[in-house]
Symmetry: C2
Subunit: 555 residues, 2 copies
């Protein structure tokens, strides 16, 4: 089962001050994969994109102490080793892993061994006597070994397993099979050194029908419409990584890209493999995903440094516009909307019309003008929720929008009773000419519904629902302060205040708030989409203010 | 100006094997902020969530070498210091920063100094003689100092600047003002040790009207509708961080949360501040954002380890569903759609109907049935693009959808001429009863347009546009192979093949592909939204296959 929590992973490796390789690349890769990264430093390097300037070793006792601190406390789901530097460190690491895991029937979490021997710039990162220890002690514990051509050759020749030349696909598989005899469960022999044509891969497959091809990084069969670019790509050639295990060989194909942003590629691939394995993915799926992640990291690299720059570890990430709801911020989207439109929102909910209504000094004709126009507006508003019903994908959403329509119909009854009290018949209400402010606001909401999805329409309807709730609560709260300016006793508009501050309307507001937050939590918007929501919300807030202006000025 | 690229930042600090604090927390925070992280290791710790088990120092020469490797090669936009351990390291760091930056009129990038003295668990992380060096040498270079209560007290008392007790807001500001005299341009005195009520903050503000309040982490004015939860929050009390500089004092308010996931909070806050400053943000905005990021990290923490767990550095990230377009994968969305529905897509574009059409063996009545139903289908299809015009937000989008309507109208003319050739009048075409397969597909596309936004409607229309393009190209490509099964000469359906493989239709396909990819690149979908697009695409592909079935079986 693939898990979505944050599995803890461990890198045992060297540092890279410039951040492109080593435990720094590992930690960046872990973070990009939503894994919790821990790290044990085996050696330190002063290096940058132009090369390795110095190496500083770490005493075995301190390597052991770091491992103990991590393993004692944290449940590691997968781990990798990178630069291990010397024989003593390797023995220390192996000894600790054995003593922690290989007892009481426990098993070692998947271990990815990146047999770092020489830096891209030619600096020795594994002392000569260490290779033998790595082979005899670490490889038998290894789940997945990830050598490149020269590492594979070094390992094989040190064991007198003469590598046939690793200069073609057949040579890669022969080398991988020999490496398998040294203990690792899986070998991923990286093929960056070798460029082949797609045609050569297909011919190789004919000769070796047992070999599986994974070409999901290429445009394949039934993709003629994307073919033009494909031909350009294939003319650049194909790079093949070979995965070998007891079940046979699998080749992972991807287009060759020319780039100097390759510093830390090996570390990054091994770290990405570790993350995928930590989630319980198969070695096949892990390889497909991790090679693709690394490939994209190279291709989207941002220039850093003067030499072989690092790949881009962050290409797969986007930053959330709206935080996740938490106990201290259960309404993150509405908080953002209100904060980003604070001044116009205040002009709306603390409008002069509202204040006069609270004082009871509002001219009767202004209020009646408002009620008549609001009656006409609510017809748009009810229709908007009808449109929302039509846009809904679940009966729960259909029910919720329908409940709102019923609430609006009931709200209209209150309007009619206000009018009746003041001698205005329903016929007169219906015959009232619609003010441009009413048309603008009502038609704008309908237009949002035509133009966008249910989320956009919900945002358009929100300023009205939430704003009247806010006005009702504000007037009620003010009325309870000592020496309040709000008049309830004898205020002809008191029923209006009671309606909007009352439980029934406030419950509708609560449901509306929950609906809006659920939309954002289930389908976190991109910056472009959030900006669309924000601007709809802002426009509606301005149109609400315009509605009070219209009422107050009898426009 | 705030920049969106990946600014390079540097941490000079100690390691934490368990990954929650130190350079590990810094690198995670840098990655979460889309900054390029570099790091210089000054000391190493073996630690975990229960405490610090061992510390290992790094020789000054190697600290110097790491700094030289980074600064020689990479343009650092902001930096931070964390655990500096001893006097020698501090002198080394200061010496290197001076020699690199403070010459030839250059200036130091913003330096955030987190004066780490003692771990949360009580372990000494700064040797006693080092504090004096930190104060006299590093603080004068510091842009922003971020002490907590005990660090502030330690620094002030070592300089005989007797701290008034830092147990209330006034005490915090007095301490911050004194710290300012030691050289840093800004002091951010963290207030986690002190819980106050919102009322106390307001009263303090009355006594000190010069102090600015930033309460964007709270539900504030005109947010009565969110008030119920607010009252619960405020009953937990408020935590205040105080920023002091030459312009005065600013207090950042946030709700107190009770959590044991606080390992690495100080490192994370300083690293987040560094990222914000590296983008050119003001110290005020940097503080508002970084304190909020850290606060959310604590509140969304996932349990790790047995002691004080780390906060969640990844809370602000989401993983992209669709990679960015690159040279080797310019059509990432369409590649994903085709790969995720490969088998049904193949059944559609390599349908038996298509094969018989290519061979010229297709029964005339099947083809005519197809043409008549396609004529009726295209009426829905043209209307769908009309709906897309109505949903468009730019004249470019309006023009593009309108061009498609014109293409459809022209396509219908071809249908009519086929029919005329075979003696079927337009009247007969119009009188043809609509097959359920036609209605299902046509009405489904229209329904997608009613239900969703322009993106969803575009996905619904894509299977038809792209599929016929694919069929045309496939037949054409097959016809050019030696010994091909495709017949052109004498094939009554050859004009049909020529139409869909021809330049005019293929250009429309190219425009369609570009439009679809632009939608995904401008508004990267969440997993929920991508799944919606994918399932619309899959449904339409199945309905296309059903359309050929219908034609072949005269249904």
């Amino acid at each position: 089962m693939v898990t979505n929590v944050q599995p803890a992973v461990l890198t045992i490796a060297g540092t890279d001050s410039s951040g492109g390789a080593g435990i720094q690349a590992d930690l960046k890769t872990f973070t990009a994969h939503n894994c919790y990264g821990t790290s044990v430093v085996v050696a330190m390097t002063a290096q940058n994109t132009t090369g390795v300037q110095a190496v500083h070793s770490v005493p075995p006792e301190f390597i052991e102490q770091q491992l103990r601190s991590v393993l004692d406390d944290i449940d590691i789901k997968a781990m990798k080793t990178g630069m291990l530097f010397d024989a003593k460190s390797i023995r220390t690491v192996v000894g600790m892993l054995r003593s922690f895991y290989l007892k009481d029937g426990m098993s070692l979490p998947p271990l990815v061994c990146d047999p770092v021997c020489v830096s891209t710039s030619g600096h020795t990162l594994l002392q000569s006597d260490a290779l033998d220890v790595l082979i005899s002690e670490l490889l038998p514990l290894t789940f997945l070994l990830t050598p490149n051509k020269s590492e594979a050759e070094l390992i094989l020749s040190s064991r007198n397993l003469e590598p046939s030349s690793i200069t073609d696909l057949e040579g890669m598989l022969v080398a991988a099979e020999k490496l398998l005899t040294l203990g690792p469960k899986n070998i991923l022999l990286k093929g960056g050194h070798l460029t082949v044509t797609y045609q050569q891969v297909l011919e190789f497959k004919k000769a070796r029908p047992d070999v599986r091809l994974v070409s999901s990084s290429l445009y394949g069969e039934n993709m003629e419409i994307l073919q033009v670019s494909e031909e350009n790509l294939l003319s650049h050639g194909i790079v093949v990584d070979a995965l070998q295990n007891a079940e046979g060989a699998t080749l992972y194909l991807r287009p060759r890209i020319d780039s100097t942003s390759t510093h830390g590629t090996g570390c990054t691939l091994a770290a990405a493999l570790t993350c995928e394995l930590s989630r319980g993915r198969s070695v096949y799926e892990a390889t497909a995903r991790a090679t693709e992640y690394t490939h994209q990291g190279i291709e989207t690299a941002v220039p850093i440094g003067k030499g072989f720059g690092p790949l881009n570890h962050m290409h797969s990430l986007t930053v959330r516009c709206i935080p996740k709801p938490t106990a201290s911020n259960p309404h993150p989207l509405i908080r953002l909307l209100l904060q980003s439109t604070a001044s116009i929102w205040k002009e709306y909910v603390e409008h002069e019309f509202v204040k006069q209504l609270g004082k009871g000094t509002l001219l009767k004709e202004c209020f009646l003008h408002f009620v008549k126009q609001d009656y006409l507006y609510l017809r748009y508003y009810a229709r908007a929720y009808g449109l929302l019903v039509a846009k809904s994908t679940s009966f729960a959403a259909i029910k919720s929008a329908t409940d709102t329509i019923i609430n609006i119909v009931n709200e209209v009854a209150t309007h009619k009773s206000f009018c009746a009290k003041w001698g205005i018949s329903e016929e007169e209400l219906l015959a009232t000419p619609e003010s441009p402010s009413t048309t603008a606001y009502g038609a704008y909401i309908i237009d949002c519904g035509i133009q966008g999805d249910a989320a956009k329409l919900t945002m358009a309807a929100a300023a009205c629902l939430l704003g009247y709730g806010e006005v009702g609560l504000w007037l009620q709260k003010e009325s309870q302060k000592p020496g309040t300016w709000v008049v309830i006793e004898g205020n002809p508009y008191a029923p209006w205040i009671e309606d909007y501050s009352g439980e029934h309307y406030q419950n509708a507001v609560k449901v509306g708030i929950a609906t809006i937050e659920t939309i954002a939590a289930r389908d976190p918007p991109s910056p472009a989409r959030f900006e669309e929501w924000r601007s709809v919300w802002e426009r509606c807030t301005m149109l609400e203010k315009g509605f009070w202006d219209m009422a107050l000025n009898l426009l």
